[in-house]
């Protein structure tokens, strides 16, 4: 699956996009967040306070319990500030 990072999350993680292969037990967005935090200090910093972070799965907003599957595109970003 692909993970995309936007705004200050991208700055903390150090990349805008990465391809990952998480283990079988990672079934939801919440599971993925926990697994991603272990990848690097930058990842842990970006996802440290999830009240400041929103997620999308396949380009639709997703809550913590949303399933994640092989082939999905998951994105993490701050609350939007368009308009």
């Amino acid at each position: 699956m692909r993970v995309l990072w936007f705004a200050w999350l991208r700055t903390k993680v150090g990349v805008g996009e990465e391809t990952i292969d998480p283990p079988q037990g990672v079934a939801t967005v919440a599971d993925l967040v926990e697994w991603l935090k272990g990848r690097s200090p930058g990842h842990a910093a970006a996802l440290g306070d999830m009240t400041m972070v929103r997620a999308a799965v396949n380009q639709d907003f997703a809550q913590a319990d949303h399933p994640v599957r092989t082939g999905d595109e998951i994105a993490f970003f701050p609350p939007v500030t368009g308009g």
Binding site: A7, W8, A56, D60, V80, T81, G82, G83
Partner: protein, 147 residues
């Protein structure tokens, strides 16, 4: 019709196009980069290509379901914009003004909470990411949980 682009747009041209079919009302909103009391020099808008268009199309579809509209145009720019430049246009064509006004306001309130753009301000002390405002969520919520 949704356009996500770097280039500036011409409100007059868009209104002329929308009214060419003989519609009774066109309501528009244009958002500009404020200079925040001369402290802001530029704004950079990042977006999520793919999700941006998808979310704007979804908001447009909601407006069509809720009001009797002839056409909706949403143009949202991205990239580096200077103070005073236009960021976004929402234009709604309808037979009657009540539908046009209401849909235009609805689209802007929803866009503020659902359109995946992120703003970074440049000022005298450097660059900082703009934070979302809770009042934007409140404004969107007052339209109810729509179709």
């Amino acid at each position: 019709m949704i356009r996500v682009q770097r280039e500036d747009f011409d409100v007059g041209q868009e209104v002329r196009r929308l009214s060419a079919g003989g519609v009774g009302a066109v309501a528009t909103f244009t958002g500009f980069v404020r200079d925040e009391g001369k402290t802001l020099s530029a704004l950079t808008l990042e977006h999520y290509p793919g999700m941006t268009e998808r979310q704007l199309e979804a908001i447009e579809a909601k407006a069509h379901r809720r009001w009797n509209l002839a056409e909706v145009v949403i143009i949202h720019r991205h990239g580096r914009l200077l103070a005073g430049e236009a960021i976004v246009l929402v234009a709604v064509a309808a037979a009657h003004r009540a539908d046009a006004f209401a849909a235009c306001e609805f689209l802007m309130d929803w866009l503020k909470t659902k359109a995946p753009f992120w703003k970074q301000e440049e000022g005298p002390d450097g660059t900082r990411w703009v934070e979302a405002k809770t009042e934007d969520d409140a404004r969107a919520e007052r339209w109810g949980d729509d179709c």
